[in-house]
């Protein structure tokens, strides 16, 4: 069983839901990331989605675009992100880490080399926003060979047939994008999400994480009632942006948001 499957199974056995924060690696400075990851875990995060900075984050709204720009000022490359995962792993061999980003940095490194390095660093899953399953056959096969999970997005616009195809290519969990739009856009509609998650459950036994549009304790708690995992990004990244000039405060203050959500979800 992979670290992700293990984690989600344990939570299920306890009747709890996964809280999955997203942060962009290297934002606002490379030195902050690993400390922040540990603090997030201490505050109740179950899985960490670590964003790989990219110059052209087409699926992201302004909040995460700016996070990428801040990280790229320091030249945070994919190999640097993998080093951060290694460093994190030296103190935490429990919490799953999922890399989230765009395909081109992986292409530049080469699939082989990326897989080997990522596995060695202790990466558990990879979500590539601009790689749909039909283009990702080789990519998924390589991930599997290296014991990493392939995580794909399901959108409100995905047809039943596409949902099937996506679930067949996925392992670990599937990520339901709760709104039509980029990251950080409009607030979600919990009833609509509930309906779609139920439809996904007809197709797959994989746990379903829901992200986009979760902003506060209330929306986190509401989504946790209908999904297996709650993915939170832009609110955290916004806080990081606010504190960009006092990076020492970032781990504590960002983790405090996660702590509040954890309590609301477990209440």
């Amino acid at each position: 069983m992979s670290r992700i499957q293990n984690c989600l199974q344990q939570l299920k056995d306890q009747g709890r839901k996964a809280l999955i924060p997203y942060i962009t690696a290297g934002d606002p400075q490379p030195g902050v990331t690993v400390a922040l990851m540990h603090e997030l875990v201490k505050s109740g995060a179950d899985i960490i989605e670590l964003g790989v900075p990219f110059s052209d984050p087409m699926a992201d709204g302004p909040v995460i675009q700016l996070a990428c720009e801040r990280a790229l000022i320091y030249g945070t490359r994919l190999v640097d992100v993998l080093d951060m995962v290694s460093e994190f792993r030296s103190q935490d061999d429990q919490t799953p880490v999922v890399l989230m980003g765009y395909l081109n940095p992986v292409e530049a490194l080469g699939y082989e080399r990326f897989m080997t390095l990522a596995q060695k660093a202790g990466v558990d899953g990879v979500l590539t926003v601009d790689l749909p399953p039909e283009e990702g056959l080789e990519f998924c096969a390589e991930l599997k060979k290296h014991n990493m999970d392939a995580i794909f997005l399901i959108a409100p616009t995905s047809s039943d047939q596409r949902m099937k195809q996506i679930c067949e290519s996925s392992s670990g969990y599937v990520y339901y994008v709760s709104v039509k739009g980029v990251t950080g856009s409009a607030a979600l509609d919990v009833d609509a999400v509930d309906e779609r998650v139920k439809a996904i459950r007809q197709i797959t036994d994989l746990p379903v994480g829901v992200g986009f549009g979760i902003r506060d304790n209330e929306s986190a708690a509401a989504v946790s009632r209908v999904a297996d995992g709650v993915i939170v990004g832009s609110v955290l990244v916004n806080k990081i942006a606010e504190l960009a000039d006092s990076p020492a405060e970032i781990p504590q203050q960002v983790a405090a948001i996660i702590k509040g959500m954890r309590q609301a979800m477990d209440a």
Binding site: P53, F54, S55, D56, P57, M58, A59, D60, G61, P62, Q65, E69, L72, R77, L78, V79, Y102, L103, N104, P105, V106, E107, A108, L109, V129, D130, L131, P132, E134, E135, F152, L153, I154, A155, P156, T157, S158, S159, R162, I166, V177, K180, G181, V182, S185
Partner: protein, 406 residues
């Protein structure tokens, strides 16, 4: 790299999932995948029907003003002293460039899909103008994304779009040029996919865009083929076109791909010179990667971040290129070369002064290369150059370079 390629088979590409060899494909976020598949299905169904062809041909004839002439540039030929230079006059189209061939086609698709709103990205503003134009004609809402650097460079076209009723949104992210405008248009589309048709302006993007843009633009090559045979009694010896994303070039090249004897040259923007790294020539000096929905040659750093590009012409200032060009390059069917800013400006002035035709700065790259090429050929050989657009929009840029305020 493929060894021996059947040129005729190249014309059957892309495959049904949009691949040209290892290039192309559909690398889009999941929210857009259904819309792209719907578009692909609709397009395959409609494109070959006589009704659609009739509608498209009618608009090209009566609204765009096609066929565009093939003009024998005798004075230019004489000055260069080599092959005969023929200009395919896309500058004479309504709105002043080849871009309108494509927007007419895509607007017809939007109409068939019942979408009330269109969006577009633009660099030089020509595609934005062509999109705003068809939107005005069909009564559609139109939003055009444009990098703030390009808004500065192409002020005339910005105002044209506004007069046509379009909203022009300045894009301030990244390098503030065409690639960032494309990112922003994609973000709009993800958000408004239900009511919005995205008119991509070049032969790039996720499948089916590279294919349908090529098909709509191929009218250029089909006409040129006939006109050249009529005027010279045979096919041309060489074709030359500038390559930004590659739509005017593939439009000219495609109908000649199987004609082995016709040499094909795509001209990229050499900026300050390939050796300086400050250019926009991914086929000459880039490597394969994935951006904006397709796998193709890109300008990027070692870690896969997209590089900033430079060209004096906004329409060529793009770090990627359409996937069909990437494959034509690898197959050895087409040659890709670069022309620097200075050489392009020189060609702009030359053509203006000795033929009375003011080319767009984009097209000036093709003219400059054709002049070099012609000089190495004999007077009984013929070159067809795609004069993709007219230069009115660039007068400010040239005046600025001349130190003249207008």
């Amino acid at each position: 790299m493929p060894t021996k390629v059947d040129y005729k088979a190249l014309m059957d590409l892309p495959d049904e999932r949009g691949h040209f060899g290892p290039y192309g494909g559909c690398f889009a976020s999941e929210t857009l995948m259904s819309a792209l598949q719907d578009l692909s299905e609709l397009y395959e169904k409609l494109w070959r029907t006589p009704e659609f062809q009739r509608e498209f041909d009618y608009d090209l004839a009566h609204y765009v003003g096609r066929p565009s002439p093939l003009y024998h540039a005798e004075r230019l030929t004489k000055q260069v002293g080599g092959a005969q230079i023929y200009l395919k006059r896309e500058d004479l189209n309504h709105t002043g460039a080849h871009k309108v061939n494509n927007t007419i086609g895509q607007a017809l698709l939007a109409k068939h899909m019942g979408k009330p709103r269109i969006i577009a990205e633009t660099g030089a503003g020509q595609h934005g103008v062509a999109s705003a134009t068809v939107a005005a004609r069909l009564g559609l809402e139109c939003v055009v994304y444009m990098g703030s650097e390009d808004i500065r460079r192409q002020a005339l076209n910005v105002y044209r779009m506004k007069l046509l009723g379009a909203e022009v949104v300045a894009v301030d992210s990244g390098t503030k040029t065409l690639k960032d405008a494309l990112n922003e248009a994609m973000r709009d589309w993800v958000t408004n996919v239900d009511n919005t048709f995205y008119i991509i302006g070049t032969a790039a993007g996720p499948h089916p865009y590279p294919k349908l843009v090529r098909d709509f633009q191929s009218i250029i090559g089909r006409e040129a083929r006939e006109q050249c045979q009529e005027m010279t009694g045979r096919l041309p010896d060489a074709l030359v076109a500038c390559v930004g994303g590659g739509s005017n070039a593939i439009g000219l090249f495609y109908p000649f791909i199987a004609d082995e004897k016709v040499e094909i040259y795509g001209v990229e923007a050499g900026g300050y010179g390939i050796e300086t790294g400050q250019h926009a020539a991914p086929l000459c000096d880039g490597r394969p990667g994935v951006l904006h929905g397709n796998r193709t040659y890109l300008m990027e750093d070692d870690s896969g971040q997209i590089a900033a590009t430079h060209s004096v012409s906004a329409g060529l200032d793009y770090p990627g290129v359409g996937p069909e060009h990437a494959w034509l390059k690898d197959c050895g069917r087409a040659n890709y070369v670069a022309i620097n800013d200075d050489e392009a400006l020189n060609a702009f002035r030359t053509l203006t002064r000795i033929e009375g035709i003011m080319p767009a700065l984009e097209s000036s790259h093709a003219i400059a290369y054709a002049m070099k090429l012609a000089a190495t050929m004999s007077p009984d050989q013929n070159i067809v150059v795609n004069l993709s657009g007219r230069g009115d929009k660039d007068i400010h840029t040239v005046a600025e370079i001349d130190g003249i305020g207008i």
